[in-house]
Symmetry: C2
Subunit: 387 residues, 2 copies
């Protein structure tokens, strides 16, 4: 095994891209990442995507995208792990480079969700849940998160308004992200008045349906140092996948998010680090409750105390553990299979010192956690700035 | 990098499994493979599948299947590369073990196609083609293969009946395979009278729509030797993916099947072997024309001479290069995302000397080629019997 670096990043603006196809979105981010990496060679392409079949009538994205971006011939496959598809593809890229099976690997995440009506999208997203027990009984993804949130509020005596800081923080940070879907601020008052989706989850608790693509280029750290001696590659300190039961009713500990806890534990072990070492955390804020649970099981707050991080300002840039620094799933947007790669792109921006007005000062170690389903597949990645 | 062995195999009978769900099929093959491997530990699970979303309303198979088979917590993802999904998952498993990122990896392929009506299946399979240029214009998969076959017949002056030996050979071999969907013989007369599907492709040129699952267990070769000193593990000499344009109109050489040629070239190079060394070849006979093209570009026949291998008896067990030794996609069946793993299971059976009446004598080196789309993603695997 050898150390792996990220040497290129690329992304499209997140939004409703009715004028661009899935392969055009992927191409835009991949070509940007390849240009950023200044490489002319690519050995393998891993495409993270969840719903291309259901929502755009196209599978076989590995071959499709590799040809369209001018890489015909290279190893290329699609990786699917629901909303964790993007970082699951990153894990495959990491394994391939670390294991010395290839040198230059492009990992892209892409999703195109807005060409179909909302009910079709809701039904497609439910394919990440357990078909026999959850989707079959009419549970949509927002409903599953509502069950978690209701239980959390009951268990710990937390009020719904205490989740507001997560939405407010994400939107505030999105203002300075040119790639964000919702670059505008929201207030506690907005949160309070926000439309109810599935009680207690309201619109501002929820991330949007949207289109987008992000990509990164990986290579061995030694090669990165040699080729890019004057620049600052970012080292992948860890990238770990863990799973849990898909169905909520089958979990040993409903609010324990055991897949996320195990994934974070594996990543911390691989890196020889702990939560106290992390300078920023791109959390999977598909819903505010998911941010809270993720922060707790990753060791940033005690159980039942996660909302305090928002109320106390700890999650803000300049706070103890800045999260969703470029807007997160909530305000940058959540094109599901692409999200995990967007998170990595944003951590790299922070570690390179390229995050502009949202720069976390002295950011050396960044973490991202990408979650598939309501916690069934979880990928935790830790990145480090190199001198 | 370290050498990788296959220490366990499992498979379900291929057929119309209306009484079993997708996860039940996957579980049957995985538990059989784990039992065969006599391992109690599994680090990672890769599931090859193409159409679970479209045909069974379920994505997120990594987490779903890992939990259902009792492996909750392990790394698990779904790999998709159209009909090449099974062997693409094998490639990911190979990379993970060879690269020392995990020790015991289960690779499963699964597909459930018969719960939906035929036209829905045809439309779903077309998602492996280029949506914008092929599927959009009504080209189904059999139509794409008909274009290739027509061109081949025109280019080389080959008659349709010259393809018959491929179907006859596959069916003859399926008779002795308890897992085959069609364990009965067919004759040249049957082939001649067979129903036309898309001129010139007839029913007996074509593999069936069906359900099934196959699985293998991988581990480092050293571990296999140590743990199973009295038995015969099979070594993965090579496993290589290459791609080509998805759309036929965009290929540089229509009958050159460049993705397959490149994939075979990479596999031969990795193994330090050539076609003359291969004792049997599990070819991707989704359609007879695909077998012929694959045999040619892999170096078993000159271009335009592939049908001679059938006519001269070279492809039979006991012939120069036995193919589809357990029935192939044609007669064992072609549950698309599972096929690539079935091929590997069958090569392992041959190399272990467990192929019964279909045993290729002195089989030491076996090859399998799994093809996604009409040649856009191709995975070539070479396996060797160990003493």
């Amino acid at each position: 095994m050898r150390d792996v670096a990220i040497i290129g990043i690329g992304q499209t603006k997140v939004g409703e891209h009715w004028d661009k196809s899935l392969k055009e979105l992927a191409t835009e981010s991949i070509l940007a990442a390849i240009k950023d990496a200044r490489t002319e060679r690519v050995d393998s392409l891993y495409v993270g995507n969840m719903l291309s079949g259901e929502l755009t009538g196209q599978e076989h994205l590995g071959a499709l995208v590799s040809d369209f971006v001018g890489l015909r011939g290279v190893e290329a496959v699609k990786i699917e792990a629901a909303c964790g598809s993007g970082a699951a593809a990153l894990r495959m890229g990491y394994v391939t480079v670390a294991g010395e099976l290839a040198d230059i690997v492009v990992v892209a995440g892409v999703e195109k969700m807005t060409d179909k009506p909302g009910d079709a999208v809701t039904a497609s997203l439910a394919m990440a849940a357990d078909g026999d027990f959850e989707a079959q009984n009419g549970l949509s993804f927002v409903a599953l998160n509502a069950l978690l949130m209701r239980r959390y509020m009951h268990e710990y005596g937390v009020k719904h308004e205490e989740f507001a800081p997560f939405a407010i923080n994400a939107h505030r940070n999105a203002v300075n992200n040119p790639y964000a879907m919702f670059p505008f601020a929201v207030t506690a008052e907005d949160f309070k008045k926000s439309k109810m989706i599935a009680d207690p989850v309201n619109l501002l608790d929820s991330s949007p349906v949207c289109d987008g693509s992000a990509a990164v280029v990986l290579c061995p750290l030694d090669m990165a140092r040699h080729r890019y001696a004057s620049e600052h590659p970012v080292k992948l300190r860890a990238c770990a996948i863990a799973t849990d039961s898909i169905a909520l009713h089958d979990r040993r500990d409903l609010l324990g998010l055991e897949g996320a806890a195990l994934s974070a534990h594996k990543a911390y072990s691989q890196a020889g680090l702990g939560p106290q070492d992390i300078d920023l955390f791109e959390v999977h804020d598909a819903f505010t409750i998911m941010s809270v649970l993720s922060l707790e099981v990753c060791g940033f707050a005690e159980r039942g105390r996660g909302t305090r991080l928002g109320l106390d300002g700890d999650i803000a840039i300049g706070g103890r553990i800045p999260i969703t620094t470029m807007g997160g799933l909530k305000a940058r947007g959540h094109p599901v299979g692409a999200t995990g790669v967007y998170q990595i792109v944003e951590v790299v921006e922070q570690l390179r010192g390229q995050a502009g007005k949202n720069q976390v000062s002295d950011a050396r170690l960044g973490m991202a956690q990408n979650i598939g389903g309501s916690g069934a597949t979880v990928i935790t990645t830790i990145l480090e700035a190199m001198d």
